[in-house]
Amino acid sequence: MLRIERARTRSDGIDDGQLTMDDEQLTMDNGQWTIVESLRDVFRLNNLELAISLFTPIKV
């Protein structure tokens, strides 16, 4: 399972280090990413590029 942890940055004012998304929330199909709408709303991420840049994969 791929778990992804929020990178430790405070540049956008969002709490750092604790938020995660898992396989179902960020999917990859045929090389294309899809992020669930609800996650975009929660993190106020209207841009997939930004979403991916803010998170980092962690070992589970």
Binding site: D23, S53, P57
Partner: protein, 419 residues
């Protein structure tokens, strides 16, 4: 031998076929928008793949060996023959190119342009005794420009496969088209490239080339497919263009040839690693340590091509990965084509290699891809780690920067489309 004519489902993986058909439909629509309405039955369709260098990093210019493979990224064309002797090509995102076929000599002001490549390929056909004629074409490509995937070679080979199909009953051998394309790039476009790129684009699959005889390289198709070994082939575009690195590339060629000149020969292939080792001290003093190290890279990398071919042919993928890692190590330590010494703060290839090694956790393999100093990194990623790997790299280089590819078995081909 007749050039191949395939159906899309014979060329593209099943999971991609819908997207590929949509891409052709868009290209047909764009053709009509640009050239005017035209009946589907008058149109011909073509596909030429890009290529990836598997090993033999900077060995070809000193008559070494290389291993390459054609990629699932391709340039496609919608084509109609015309009765006048003129080739007109509209490539997506570029101005239209026109070349009249009544003058087929190099034109100085065309150097470095698509017109030079078109004129050069047509000239090569005529000099080789083949027929040429006019056509209109709309092309679109997902072979990245300036990324070491040989977009220009794919374009040249595309001109050749079209001329073969339209005016020579598809009977110009793909290896012949590759040689004509290389000459067009050398003599008309003005770039002194080797034959590897064109040959890999034209013939498809894995291909090993030994440049020991510059005029007649030894070309062998290698029977293997990495998709059978549980790994994906990824190319990571670091967003840095290698187009401005000509001086760095030239320095590698020059330093290797300088070392060769110490022994009175014009390339490293004419001497042995032992000759270099026995003269280490004098070579260091005469040409500097970097030239010595680059020469040593040449021999080790050259031997690795044979080892990689053997590993592929014997389905020994563990050794294949080991040699890929060794190739990358040698490029970093000895060939030294990872970053430009003129701008040491800018090292995107090294950053990508570090991130790739971290994500791979000792599995798979990664190495600098192509000319180096900027551009792309190549990685062989276990299927089970692909998502994590892609995420880790795209987090740094942006969404869409990690291309998940496969080795395409077919080279340049005409396609038959359902009406």
């Amino acid at each position: 031998m007749q050039n191949p004519t395939l159906k899309p489902e014979d060329l593209y993986p099943a999971v991609e076929i819908e997207a590929k058909r949509a891409r052709f439909e868009q290209a047909i629509a764009d053709y009509r928008k640009h050239f005017g309405d035209s009946a589907m039955e008058n149109m011909r369709f073509f596909s030429v793949p890009g290529r990836t260098e598997i090993s033999g990093n900077h060995t070809d210019h000193n008559r070494g060996k290389v291993l390459a493979a054609s990629l699932s990224l391709d340039i496609i064309a919608v084509v109609e023959p015309i009765e006048i002797g003129k080739i007109v090509i509209k490539s997506e995102g570029f101005d239209e190119n026109h070349v009249m076929l009544d003058y087929l000599e190099p034109v100085p002001h065309e150097k470095g342009t698509s017109e030079a490549l078109i004129r050069g390929v047509a000239a090569g056909f005529v000099k080789s005794g083949y027929k040429v004629g006019g056509f209109k074409a709309y092309t679109t490509s997902d072979v990245l420009l300036g990324s070491g995937m040989s977009s220009s070679a794919a374009f040249e080979v595309m001109i050749g496969i079209i001329l073969s199909a339209l005016y020579n009953n598809g009977k110009v051998e793909t290896s012949r088209i590759a040689k004509i394309s290389q000459k067009a790039e050398n003599d008309f476009f003005g770039k002194p490239s080797g034959l590897l790129d064109q040959m890999a684009c034209a013939t498809g699959g894995f291909i090993a080339i030994d440049f020991i005889d510059e005029g007649s390289p030894i070309i062998n198709k290698v029977n293997a497919g990495i998709n059978d070994f549980g790994h994906d082939l990824c190319i990571i575009n670091t967003g840095s263009d290698h187009c401005g690195m000509t001086d760095e590339y030239a320095a590698i060629t020059a330093e290797m040839r300088d070392v060769a000149s110490f022994f009175g020969v014009d390339c490293l292939r004419k001497i042995s690693r032992k000759d270099i080792v026995l003269n280490t001290n004098v070579l260091r003093k005469t040409y500097g340590d970097r030239a010595l190290l680059r020469a040593l890279h040449f021999y080790e990398e050259n031997d690795r091509v044979d080892k990689l071919v053997h590993a592929l042919e014997s389905s020994d993928f563990e050794h294949f990965l080991t040699y890929i890692r060794q190739s990358g190590d040698s490029s970093f330590k000895y060939l030294q084509n990872i970053y430009s010494t003129g701008d040491v703060k800018c090292q995107p290839i090294a950053v990508a290699l570090n991130a790739a090694e971290d994500a791979l956790e000792g599995k798979g393999a990664c190495r600098v891809h192509g000319g180096g100093f900027a551009g792309t990194v190549q990685a062989f990623v276990p299927h089970t780690m692909l998502k994590e790997f892609k995420f880790a790299l795209e987090r740094i280089f942006g969404v869409g920067s990690c291309y998940v590819l496969s080795v395409r078995e077919h080279g340049a081909t005409e396609l038959t489309m359902d009406n």
